[in-house]
Point group: C2
Chain length 374, copies 2
């Protein structure tokens, strides 16, 4: 396996900033990866995603294997060409969506069989098939191992069994992945909320050796404090010189606190999903544009963000669009939210580089608290 060079330019406490250098371009870390579920970041043009400051986007193997089909994507030139994204892409393994979306799931040592939530068609996903889809057919830059995403809550014995299965699948993924130029494979730490299981999962994955390490099985209902605790217990057992990716997280405050704990990469549907539902993220928390108080508010969402959606449209107009169910409302709020998330990542990178991350973090928390007490 060829690991992408990961250059850490500065650290501040546990927080780090730098770049993961892929053949399709650098990923500035800490990085937020917008989710391009079905070869599109919902309601956005790819140039908006890129211009908002995104270096990498995520594709969902589950969605793409169902529609348009992984072999079809390959025949059409691969996922980058198909989706019109020339930068790096990370694909998930498909396991999480099988767990959360598919019907009639059946899990065995070999892998998982399921029925599509779209048309009921039958499919299977094994470690080998997931790697084939991601690395060979879609042509992903960062490939994720197939794992079982442990549910929450989860008994210790079940969490251990699940973690052991994910480790065996990690090894099979590694074998299937083999040695590749310009593509890398990440392992995924599981173990639910159990400190010793998380440590063991991390150590055994590191023993296998991956290009990067993800923390999986979080943001599944355990809550903010427990998520932070798991990161406190897990990140120290991951190698300093490899990128750390917290999967499926999260709200802005989650990102700030995870960066403080040494996480380098994130993905989440929240900015686009909440945007489609009329919610805009700001430093003082989320605001719901449907609210009548915005009906004649002529101010933009955030004039300090260099994005038309944040700067050039009044809240009154956005309120009107959302109330009317207009496409443009979803388009503009999704765009703003991605720009807001990327602005937050950029501010964190700057603060870490300047050795001012603790002050930034405190200021961010204070801003949220102040708005809550309004």
């Amino acid at each position: 396996m060829t690991d992408f060079p990961f250059e850490i330019a500065a650290t501040d406490g546990k927080a780090r900033t730098g770049a993961l250098k892929t053949s399709r371009g650098d990923i500035r870390t800490p990085a937020f990866m917008p989710v391009g579920t079905a070869a599109t970041v919902k309601a956005l043009y790819m140039d908006q995603v890129r211009d908002a400051g995104s270096d990498i986007i995520l594709g969902n193997t589950y969605h793409l294997m169902l529609r348009p089909g992984a072999e079809r994507v390959q025949r059409l030139g691969g996922l980058h060409k198909f989706a019109g994204w020339s930068g790096p892409m990370l694909t998930d393994s498909g396991g999480f969506q099988v767990w959360s979306l598919a019907n009639l799931r059946k899990l065995t040592e070999e892998g998982v069989t399921f029925q599509s939530h779209v048309d009921g068609s039958k499919h299977s996903l094994t470690p080998e098939r997931s790697i084939e889809i991601q690395a060979d057919l879609l042509g992903s830059d960062i490939v994720m191992q197939l794992d079982e995403c442990t549910p929450f809550p989860c008994l210790r014995d079940d969490a251990r069994a699940s973690m052991e299965l994910s480790l065996r699948w990690a090894k099979r993924c590694q074998t299937a992945f083999g040695h590749r130029d310009s593509q890398t494979l990440f392992g995924i730490v599981q173990g639910s909320v159990y400190e010793d299981l998380r440590r063991e999962s991390a150590e055994r994955l590191v023993g296998l050796g991956f290009g990067g390490y993800a923390v999986g099985g979080l943001a599944v209902g355990e809550g903010f404090e427990m998520m932070c605790e798991v990161l406190d217990h897990t990140v120290p057992h991951l190698p300093k010189d490899r990128p750390r990716y917290l999967m499926g997280v999260g709200k802005p405050i989650d990102l700030v606190e995870a960066v403080a704990r040494g996480v380098d990469m994130f993905d989440c549907v929240l900015p686009t999903r909440s945007g489609r539902h009329g919610q805009a993220w700001t430093d003082t928390g989320p605001i719901n544009l449907k609210n009548a108080r915005f009906a004649e508010d002529d101010s933009p969402l955030d004039a300090s963000i260099d994005c038309p959606a944040s700067r050039d449209y009044s809240k009154a107009y956005l309120h009107h669009l959302i109330r009317c169910g207009e496409y443009l409302g979803s388009m503009l709020l999704s765009w703003h939210n991605i720009a807001y998330y990327q602005s937050l990542m950029a501010r964190m990178r700057t603060a870490i580089a300047a050795g001012e991350f603790q002050a930034f973090r405190q200021g961010f928390v204070d801003g949220l608290d102040a708005s809550k007490s309004d």
Copy 2:
């Protein structure tokens, strides 16, 4: 009333090309006006609408008076500022949508009362109120008289009574409009499919004197041939030196045949509405991107159109997006369709200026016929 200068640069048969010169910019004619129903051209950014070649867009008085409300738009700086469109705008009178969308309509000599299709609230629209909304509150550049849109089919006596009412309302609109700098008022010819009624309506409107003349009451079910006949009977009674606007029309072939009959302006929801439903317009007719034959078609919709949606995305990708119900599918097809319509208008303007419109028209019809016989 200040009539906008209308400069006809060339004629070819009955077809003309030129420009209607407003204080917010020139409208190149023949012109297609995308419909910006609720202060947004659905699923498009205004810069896409403009860059596709649109000089003017249309706003719907009915929709805007319900949401966000005409007085609210005024308080927010008028429709141009609210919607982010700096070019000229035409607003309809609201009458057509009251007729097609509202509940519990009651028509009297005074005007029409109705209940909102959105929330059941009660409203009224008179000639005076329509002018107030369009000219004073929204701040439209081209204001349409309130008329009654005669249904189809319609008995002669009913068509006459309706036409007479529209003429009385035309006069009241003119009085209410008064003399204004930088805004103009268009009258609307009615009379259903009856040649003598259309002529009488046109002549009496011309006697009143308007900045432009619309042909209303078409595209309501009468069909292509009858629409062409009505234009044959109506347009010759309109002054050569004023713009002629065919309301609510239509398919590309309708536009070509109406231009051949001397029409200068059009509006229609078709390109955006059909785009949202997976249909793309081309010189060989509409194609439905949902169709399985596009699943691996790597070609763009029309590489000759200088629009990213037409040129830079494969039909296979569009097929995938539409199949998945993705926003981007509706966004791209609406964008392409507006660009296609504007490309068609530009080609007609060029052909008229070159004295080659009859050849263009024949070629266009032949292209459609050839595709039908495929």
